[in-house]
Symmetry: C3
Subunit: 157 residues, 3 copies
């Protein structure tokens, strides 16, 4: 059983999803790992990780719209339609900042993924997404960490 640590960077462009499944699989394969655990950590508190459908892009649109409907933008912002519902004390970094922190805690900052034969174990309709919750373009770092068996070790046994 061996370990590897690295970082992957993604550039986001406002609220929405980046399918990172292929990048994760490529990282596994380039490092010659066969099977193990792929531990993924978002190093930010205003974007998050989730696993959801990879087929109809409307699923992602609806997910985003739903999350916007239950987490209002900041009251201080003209964007807020829910001025009477909630009042954020942390409003200084923008109308989308405190909502982004909330959305992060409602989803995941870490995901522990299993992989076999160099590929993350997912269902046919699943993808791993980096979910950006801020309005503006951001560079996002994910810590990637594998504990597992390499192909060579298995063949040499």
């Amino acid at each position: 059983m061996e370990q590897i640590f690295s970082k992957l960077e993604f550039i986001t462009s406002g609220e929405g999803f980046i399918d990172i499944t292929d990048t994760l699989n490529l990282f596994i394969q380039e490092n010659n790992f066969c099977s193990g655990i792929f531990n993924l950590t978002s190093l930010h508190t205003s974007c998050s990780l989730t696993i959801n459908e990879n087929a109809d892009p409307n699923v992602l649109k609806d997910l985003k719209k739903y999350m916007q409907s239950i987490v209002p933008y900041d009251n201080y912002s003209s964007l807020s339609k829910n001025r009477d519902v909630i009042y954020y004390e942390h409003y200084q970094e923008g109308a989308d900042d405190m909502p982004a922190h909330i959305k992060t805690s409602l989803t995941n900052s870490v995901l522990s993924l299993s992989f076999q034969e160099g590929k993350i174990n997912l269902g046919t309709w699943q993808a791993v997404y980096l979910w950006e919750h801020r309005f503006n373009k951001k560079v996002r770092s994910l810590n990637v960490h594998i504990i597992g068996e390499k192909f060579s070790n298995i063949y040499n046994k």
Copy 2:
């Protein structure tokens, strides 16, 4: 440290919970594992995993009712009581489909569980649940993956 991968299937019967704790413990024991990580992955995007109370069944009823209250069924459906609140663009697979995707992202598709002496480390009142979010009977597959020590290895040291 050794690994094992397999799949477990469960048949669900509409929105609700299946306590899978005993099945997970049995899988550990049948494979002679003593201690390690049990990485559990739901291979679907309309059911999910959660850890919650194993004692009063009303907790599960209330959890389900709560989730139904914050994630309305699709507007196109006669089931919806929230026609003016949200509008799903992904409505073609049924009134319960997009809500199921949302509920999945609000809970967990993967759980990384620790186990010792052949049993998942949980508190007295905790159980691991497969949470079905669709209305109809479904066959659900979970990917199960253990990294850990076997009983024999420990005794032979």
Copy 3:
């Protein structure tokens, strides 16, 4: 690759957050681990785990206030401002009990954290929090489990 299991106890004082990051790092270092996975399990169903901002304490206040706004206290309680919205059948253990179970399922009971050089891999602004959802003082146990490499093993290779 070696394993260690233990329990950590924290005393909470009502709804709110305890930053447990330093305690987790200390546990890693005291046990001479360098790098690996730190699997953390809350052994309760009315408190949970989350990763969020460590800088402005208002973020935590807003997180708590937000969660209170979407998960009403029990209808049977005079605290509830949402009597017509939801009705909990599990009300016998107090106005804050069923809401605490819900908040637990909306956040995390387990977190699988990566660590390197004796420290959990987090971003500059991230901390790991134990999130108490009950009103009263509680003793909370976390199961801690490391799979990783010790410093000595690495130096002796």
